[in-house]
Every structure is written in C-alpha cells, then in structure tokens.
C-alpha cells in the first residue's frame, strides 16, 4: 500500500513538486531565521566573552538599573583610587583598567562612519597588559600617545584606511585628527556595522573627559584562586559605588540587552515564516483536495479490491508526509542560503550585526523538519478523511464525485463562528486591560488565525458575486475566452475560494501594515507640528542616536541663531518601571509648546532643581497631581525627589512628542545622569529657515560630522523614515507568503487544466485558438487573484480599524494610492501565476485531449 502511495506521487510529479514548493518556502524561512539569529548570537557571544578573556573578575561602576527595550543603561565610571585598591588586594595577580565610550570615525570625505544603529565603539586600553586584550593586531602597532588610534580592519577595508593614514575622530567635541597606528580585529567574528577606535588610556580619558577615572577594570586572580573568592575579596575592599562580578556574570549582564533584542528579532522573523507556512497549509490542503477529487475513481477501485478506509486514509497521509518530508529537507537547506539573503536584506535596511561563522544548531534541523512535516500532515487530514468517504460503488459510476463530508452543511456556519470567535478574541486582547504582553500576543495570533480560517471557509459563498463583479472587465475585454474564464472561476466556488484565500492572507497583512504605518505617519506628523516651533532641528545622522551636548552648544554661538535649545534624553526609573526621561533648557519655551492639562506654560522655562513636568498618561497611571512628589532613579544611581510642576497631554495622546514621561531641567539632568546626551537641538534663527542661515549653521556643524541639520519638515520626514524602513522590511518579508500563494494559484490552475483536458480539446476542436486558450486561463487566474486581493483588502482594513480604535494615538488613515498599487500587483500576480498553466493548456494535442479519460 505504501508502495502504491509512493508510485502515485511519482506519477504526479509536477503536482507533487508544486505542493512541496508551498512548504519549502515556509520551512526555509524558519531555518534561515534560526541560522541567521544563531550566527548573530554567536557573534555577540564571541565578542562579549573574548572581551573578558583571561579576566577572572570585572569591576565597573554600579549600574543603577538594568537596560530596557534594547536601550543600554550606562554605568558611571570609577575613580582611579579603585584601581589602586584592586591592585592592593592579596589575591590579585594583575588588573587592567580600560575606558569604554563611543566615538565616530570620519571617512575621507569628512562624513561620520555610522551604519544604522550599530555602535561606534571607542576604548582606551593599556596595550602592555596583553593578556587582557581581546583584539588581534593585524598591522602596525598598538596606539601610543595623544595622536594615535587603532581602528578595526572592517572599517579600514570599507573606507580605505591604512596604517599611517590620518583619520578624524568625533568624540565629545569637534573632530580631532589621529594617525592610524594599527589595524585590529576580533578573531572569528565579523563586526557587522560597528566601528572600533582604540586609544591608549590617557588619550581616551582626555577625549571623553574621564581624567583620573576608568570605566572598567579587568582582574586576573593569582593561580589557584577561584573566581568567586576573588570577587568576595574585592567586594570587601571596594566602595559600594562599584559592581564586582565574575567574568561569566559580566558576560550575562553585557549580553542581556542583545539577547532580548535578538529574541524579539528572532520571533518577528519566525512569525513571517509562520505566516508563509500558514498560507502554505492552505495551498497544500487545496491541492490535495483537488487531486483527491480527481482520484475518486482510483480510491473507489482500491476499495473494491479490498482496501480498507484506514488504508485509503493512510495512503493519502503517507503521500503528504513524503512530500512534506522532502519539502522540509529542501526547505531546511534552502534556509541556509536564505539566511545569507536575509542578512543582506537587513544590511540593506541598515541593520548590520556581528556574525561568527554560520551556526547550524540541532534545534534548527529539528524545528524546521517538525514544522514542515507537521504542516503537511495537518493540511492533509481533511482531504484524507474525505477520501475515505469515497464509496466502492464510485468505481463503476461515470463522473463520480467526491461525496461531501458528513458535516459539509455545517461548514458555512462553522466558518462564520470561527471568524466571529476570531474577532471576539482580537477585541478581547485589544480592549481588555491588564493582560500580559505574552497573553495579548497569543490571543491576537490565535484570533487572526481563526479570522483568516473562518473567512477562507466562508468565502466560497462570496466567489460568485465577486467573480461577477471582478470578472466583468475580463468579459468585456476578452470576448468568449473572458466569458468562459469568469464562469470557470465560478464553477467550483470552494476551489476558487481556497485558492484565493491563500493570497487573501498575505494581502490582508500587507494592507493592515500599510494602514497602521499611514496612521502612525499622520499622527506623528500632526503631533510634532503641534509642539515644534523652531526653524531647524539637529539630530544624529541616523536620526535617533543621542549625541554629545557639545553640538548643541556650538549651535548657540552661530550668528543669526536666536534660540538653540537642546533636549536631552535617557532612561530613568520610577514607580518600579523604567521610563524615558527628558531634560530641557530654560529657553525651550521659545521653540516648543505643549498642551497643558495642569500647570502653566511657564513651567517649561522655570523648571527648578527638583521640578518635573510629566505626561498625562504617566500622571494618570501613578495618580500624580500638581505638587505631588515622586522619586526618580537616575543612571548614576542618584535618587531624585521631584515635584510635579505641570502636566501636559500631547495631541492624540502620542507617547513621544519630543518629551518623555518625565522632564526635568538640564542642569539637574547633567548632574545626575551618566554621560548626558542630546536627542535633538531645536534652533530658531533670525528671518526663519533660509539658505543663509542654513549655510552658517552647516559651517559650524562641519566639525561635528555625526550631527545633521534639518528643517522642520525634514525633521518630521526623517523621524518618519524609520516607520517607512520598517514597513518596507516587513513588506519584503511578507512577499514570501505572497509567493507561496502564487504557487497556490499555479497549482490550482495546473490541476484544473488536467481536469478539463477533454473540454479544452473540445474548445480547440470547435475553433478556439491557442492564444484564446491562454487568455482564458489567464483571465481566470486574474479573477481568482482579484477575489483574494478584494477579500484581503477588506480584512486588512477591518483589522486595522480594530487596532486603531484601540490605540488612541493611531489615526485610521487609508493609504489609497498604496491600496490601488496592491490591486495592480494582484493583477500581475494573476498574470504571472497563469503563465505555466496557460502554456500547458494551449499545448494540448486536440486529438489526444478529446480521448482523454
């Protein structure tokens, strides 16, 4: 029986290959995701572990609270006296201080070398203490003296620097020139988009204003002293303002940020793999249903010669399993290639992460195979059970059709119920407060799946009306073939519906994302326009990294500038959670207004040492009123006792309109936060934005290559570019699911052509040309694609409406032009999907086709 099943597969090669293809892509995405994220993970791990090689313990300033949301929390530096105490401890063999900060390298064209959000690491080391140095020198020598720097080999290669060249470095102040003393790298790891600048310690201390201080001390114990004993000993002699950790603890702390980020990143990519597989399961189920309907006679014959229902079930499932297994294997290995492709994709979107070799974990193999085979199995169950319902008598009945399932009449009701339940789950997840993030996401996921499955199940009822409307142009354009195409699409509504459903899912998600992105853009634009009243803004080149205050200060002295007000930002902690803290200067009121709910606008300009302006949502959550006191923990570990002086409520309640949840004065901020940095500097000029004003500002900013001058409009656009980039990336990832649904359309059409061989022969015999046959198939394909697109657009708009109605700061904005674009794309999808089936249909030999049984 097994052999029969396998022979059956071999006899239907094209169909099997097409079915398999639906799984290959999804599995490839899953395995590619794992390979890529594992590779990145190992890259980071290698860097973090190597950085601490040969150290047994690490001493740093006390980190006030843990990093959050991928945003690091800096530890304060420690005074040199700590180093002396460390060295004096009895079990310490050697201790190496170092400085870690950030600085941009400047390329030959005077531009800062910044790759997306990748860090620009600057360190100060003592090259003579080689045992702690994680880097390998590739050329030149270690930096020595005030004008030498060693840079990483990657940057040197990409930007053509050699030993002996002069390179600009932007640390806290204007650019300074250094001589490239050497090139270094981490062995076994590519650095991604990060850049590295290495100085000797005195130079680094001077550059970063850390004279007499260190950021980290690596400690090696005397032989035979266990690391935890060393830590205990150091702990007892060092002040409480420092953290002492074993190397492995320190690696954990260092990598916790990247691990959180990588996990989220992995989940997002896996979700797209999941979507592709979900779409794939529709394609497989549909293909199997069609093939099984076409094989009714065969199953009946098997039954008459003694096959049991269970054997028929087994045969179908075995077929699916074999296809699933082969497809999963191919997908698994295709995923290894896809990992590279994904990586280039991410790099092209500005996400260039460290990588170490390509990591093929056992988990990757297991999950990819289990998921791929599982999907094939699940998708085959329903068709397989239907196959068992073929009665033996069907073997002798001409044109016997697959009997409808026992519960077929229930299907529309079940589908509607599933869709309703899906919507209910979505609404519950969105509107019920107090559910954890994990629960909300699970509910949303299950809700969306149910909704899609439900609509797909019900959509067979919608095929006829939709085909009427969408097929009308085809009829008008295509004459007889057009008319036939339309009625062919209507002829087996269940089949057309399930084929279209696969495309529907991808389109729905695309539309959903597009609407959300459009909503974000609209909201953000109006919210920023509402508060921002300056001619110019200065930010980092990548629009979001904080930059050193020296830039803002420099802008103040530019002729023609009437106001230059910088807004600082960092993380703080209050009421047990981590939040965004901003700091403003007294002149901020001249370039920014807020909508005050309580307190006066004057509060902005008159913030005293312990005064705070809080956002409406923060005040609401913690029951704060004017004059309420609350405590804020800063990154330096200081706890501020703040008094609420004003409460503002941004337009649309957006969470971030230039200010965070808590705003304090710059002077307080600078005293209590580690390495204060600006998020933006708002600049007003005499005469408003003009070429002359811009030129004068640019002139001064030339010394700060990481700073970018923008008009108000450019600023808003640049801030929004992140949303556009993200949307672009997500759309590219969704394209995979769309490809799977195209495969689904090809599949259905190819099978339909088989099925209608005789009919096609007849049409040709009565005078239909090949070209007309092709056109007929093509129109049917386009009508199917358009049905999928229509359903998807409606669903996507509905889902987006649901989400935007929950999130107050998201307006519901329909990007009409984009949606028209999607419709055009759907037509193209239809045309593309029809190429192969249409060619097969037009090449049928008329005589043979007529005799085809």
């Amino acid at each position: 029986m097994l052999a029969v099943a396998l022979k059956g597969l071999a006899g239907r090669k094209l169909r099997s290959v097409l079915t398999a293809f639906a799984i290959v892509l999804g599995v490839a995405m899953v395995s590619g995701t794992f390979v890529l994220t594992d590779t990145i993970q190992r890259g980071f791990d290698t860097i973090f572990t190597q950085s601490l090689k040969n150290a047994d313990a690490v001493v740093t300033g006390h980190q006030a609270f843990g990093s959050s949301g991928g945003q690091p929390v800096l530890s304060p530096s420690v005074p040199a006296s700590v180093l002396a105490k460390v060295r004096a401890a009895p079990d310490v063999e050697q201790a190496a201080p170092s400085i870690s900060d950030e600085a941009q390298l400047i390329d030959h064209d005077g531009k800062a070398i910044v790759n997306g959000g990748a860090p620009n690491i600057a360190t100060g080391i003592d090259p003579s203490l080689t045992r702690f140095n994680p880097l390998t020198l590739v050329a030149g020598h270690w930096p020595h003296g005030a004008d030498e720097v060693v840079i990483d080999t990657g940057t040197a290669r990409k930007h053509h620097f050699q030993v002996g060249d002069t390179i600009g470095v932007a640390a806290r102040g204007p650019i300074q020139k250094f001589r490239v003393a050497g090139l270094a790298k981490f062995s076994g790891v590519s650095f991604g988009g990060a850049t590295l600048a290495i100085f000797d310690i005195p130079t680094a201390q001077k550059l970063f204003h850390k004279e007499g201080r260190y950021d980290r001390i690596d400690v090696a114990a005397k032989p035979l002293t266990p690391a935890d004993k060393l830590v205990r000993e150091l702990r007892s002699v060092l002040p409480p303002t420092v953290d002492v950790r074993t190397t492995s603890e320190q690696v954990k702390v260092d990598s916790s940020d990247t691990n959180t980020f990588l996990n989220i990143f992995r989940y997002i990519l896996l979700v797209f793999g999941g979507v592709a597989l979900f779409v794939g399961s529709f394609v497989i189920a549909n293909t199997l249903s069609i093939t099984i309907a076409q094989r009714t006679r065969e199953f009946a014959t098997l039954r008459t010669i003694g096959a049991s229902r269970r054997q028929v079930l087994g045969a179908v499932i075995v077929e699916a399993l074999v296809v699933g297994t082969l497809a999963s294997l191919i997908g698994l290995f295709a995923g290894f290639g896809l990992a590279r492709l994904l990586d280039s994709l991410l790099v092209s979107f500005g996400i260039d992460l460290p990588k170490a070799g390509l990591v093929y974990a056992t988990r990757t193999f297991v999950v990819a195979l289990v998921v791929g085979i599982g999907v094939a199995l699940l998708a085959s169950l329903r068709p397989a059970f239907r196959a068992t319902r073929v009665p033996p008598i069907a073997a002798v009945r001409e044109g016997a059709e697959l009997p409808p399932g026992r519960f077929a009449w229930l299907k529309p009701y079940l589908s509607l119920a599933a869709a309703a339940l899906g919507i209910a789950l979505l609404a519950f997840a969105l509107f019920k407060s107090g559910l954890g993030t994990a629960r909300v996401l699970t509910l949303l996921g299950v809700g969306v799946l149910l909704l899609f499955a439900g609509v797909a199940g019900f959509s067979s009822r919608l095929v006829r009306p939709l085909a009427r409307v969408l097929g009308w142009p085809a009829e008008r354009l295509g004459g007889a073939p057009g008319r036939l195409a339309r009625s062919n699409a209507e002829r087996n509504p269940v089949r057309t519906a399930s084929t279209a459903a696969a495309l529907m899912i991808g389109v729905a998600l695309v539309v959903f994302l597009a609407v959300l992105a459009a909503g974000m853009r609209t909201t953000f634009r109006s919210a920023v326009n509402d508060v921002f009243h300056a001619d110019y803004a200065i930010t980092a080149q990548n629009n979001f990294s904080p930059i050193y205050p020296s830039v803002g200060r420099a802008a103040t002295h530019v002729p023609g500038v009437t106001v230059a007000s910088s807004i600082r930002g960092d993380l703080g902690r209050a009421f047990g959670s981590t939040l965004q803290v901003s700091a403003v200067e007294p002149n901020v009121g001249r370039v920014m207004t807020q909508r005050w709910e309580a307190g006066s606008p004057a509060a902005l300009s008159h913030l005293d040492g312990n005064g705070a302006i809080v956002s409406h949502s923060f005040a609401d959550k913690h029951h704060l009123k004017l004059g309420s006191h609350f405590k804020l923990l800063t990154t330096s570990g200081r706890e501020l006792d703040l008094v609420v002086r004003a409460i503002f409520r941004p337009l649309h309640d957006t969470p971030a309109t230039l200010l965070g949840s808590v705003t304090i004065s710059t002077s307080t901020f600078d005293r209590t936060f580690v390495q204060p940095k600006n998020l933006y500097t708002l600049v007003d000029t005499r005469g408003g934005a003009s070429d002359a004003n811009a030129r004068r500002l640019e002139q001064v900013l030339k010394a700060f290559p990481n700073a970018k001058l923008q008009t108000k409009k450019q600023f808003v656009d640049n801030q929004l570019s992140g949303i556009n980039t993200l949307l672009g990336l997500l759309l590219v990832l969704l394209a995979l699911s769309i490809v799977v649904s195209i495969v689904g359309i090809v599949n259905t059409l190819v099978l339909t052509v088989y099925e209608r061989t005789r009919e096609l022969g007849m049409l040709r015999a009565v005078g239909m040309t090949r070209r007309q046959v092709r056109r007929m198939i093509r129109y049917e394909s386009v009508v199917t694609a358009l049905i999928g697109a229509t359903l998807g657009i409606v669903l996507g708009l509905g889902l987006a409406a649901l989400v935007t109605s929950r999130i107050s700061f998201l307006t519901y904005a329909v990007p009409t032009a984009q949606i028209v674009g999607f419709v055009v794309a759907a037509i193209l999808v239809g045309i593309l999907a029809a190429i192969l089936p249409a060619r097969r249909a037009s090449r049928l030999n008329v005589l043979e086709a007529l005799q085809y049984e």
Binding site: M1, A3, V4, K7, G8, A10, G11, R12, R297, E298, T301, L302, R303, T304, I305, G306, A307, S308, R309, Q311, P391, P392, I393, A395, V396
Partner: protein, 255 residues
Amino acid sequence: MVETEQVQPVTGAEPAVRARDVTRRYGEGETAVDALRGVSLDVQSGKLTAVMGPSGSGKSTLMHILAGLDKPTAGSVEIGDTEITTLGDNELTKLRREHIGFVFQFFNLLPMLTAEENIVLPLTIAGEKPDNAFLSELLARTGLTDRRTHRPAELSGGQQQRVAIARALVSRPTIVFADEPTGNLDSKTSGEILDLMRNSVDTYGQTTVMVTHEARAAAIADRILFLADGLIVRELGANAEAGDVLAVMNELGAN
C-alpha cells in the same frame, strides 16, 4: 425454443451466493426507479453464470448488490454463510479481500502501476505475498508474461482487461463478478476475453457471474439468466445456443 428451469439445482454443493427477494429502488417519490423488483437466485459454485437482458433491466444493479458494492432496499444476499447486506464497512472490506473479485467494463486499473503490480494489488492491499508459481501461471494464461512491466497506458484494451481479470483471480476469491467485461472491446478481442473467463472456470473451478450482451456467451455459460424490468424472467442451461439467446433477447426487447 425457450426453456425454463432446465438446469437442475446442483446437489451436494452449497451455492456460492444466495439472493432472496432483492429489491432496489433509486430515488424517492415521483421519480423513484425500481431497478430490481424482487430477484431471488442461487449462484452455483464452480460454474459460469451469465446475466443478460436489455439495457436498464437492472443487471449492473444486481451485480453490485451481489458483490456488496451496493445495498438492496430489501431482501437478503448471502455469500457462503454470510449475510452481507447488514455488514459494516470493515467486514465488507474483509469480505472483498477474501471472497470477491470484480471485473469492470472500464478496466479500472491504476495508471501508475505496472501490469504485474496491478494484478497483485489485492494481495498487496491484504498484506499477503503472491504465490509466485500461481502468478506466473496466471500471467501465462492471460498472455501477459512479456507485458508484466508495462503500464496500462502502454497496453491495448484487451490486454488491460486481461490484467483486470488476472487481478480478480489472483486472490482465488469465492466468486468473481464481471459487469460487461467486453463492453468496451472490439468483437475479436471480446471473444478472447470470453474464452479467458470460461478458461478460469474450467481450470480453477472459479465461480463466476458475468453480465454480457454477447450472444456468444451462450456457448460458454453454464447457465444464462435473463433480466427484464428488474426481474429474472428466463433462464437457459449449458446446452443453450446462440440462437436461443438471440430469440430470448428479441422477445424481451419486444416486451
């Protein structure tokens, strides 16, 4: 020259199939069709029984019901000692494996399997090994020895039907049913197939019931039953000739 009740009931041997008052109604109400209206018969073991009658007289329906492919509206059918009209799907499957072979008008071969694979398929399905000597003999007898590795698409209609017959015989079933096995073949090939059917009865003592339109069947059948309007209306014995058959057929056609 039409004779009835010519053939003596076979004494000593139990009938292979016993049907009593079998009726079969298709559809309901106004449009209902009574395909069988009370058929009783005993099929004798080791003999070839032919079933003839005008188109629409209920031959196929009878065949399906006797073979357990369809259920009668009323009446009973026993194969061996088993009442088959009340059997569940699993028991019917078992019955088909052990007791029934079926030859179809349209061959019903599996296109992706070779001739030999098609022939042994009932055994494969039942999880049994073919008896190689018997298989070789069967192939030789059906003239398929050098066609064993061909697929149905590479065989002529007659060859395909011979594969189907070998498939029906391979598990040595209690009874073989054939519904117009020559209906789709030319005259010469039909003759060969009829000979093959007779041959299997002679060689293996294979009990066979065959629906046919061929007057030639008279020469090979041990007994001929005539159906008209869902009833057995005539019967001829082993010594009937083609002329007798034609006479009955004309008479029934004129009815």
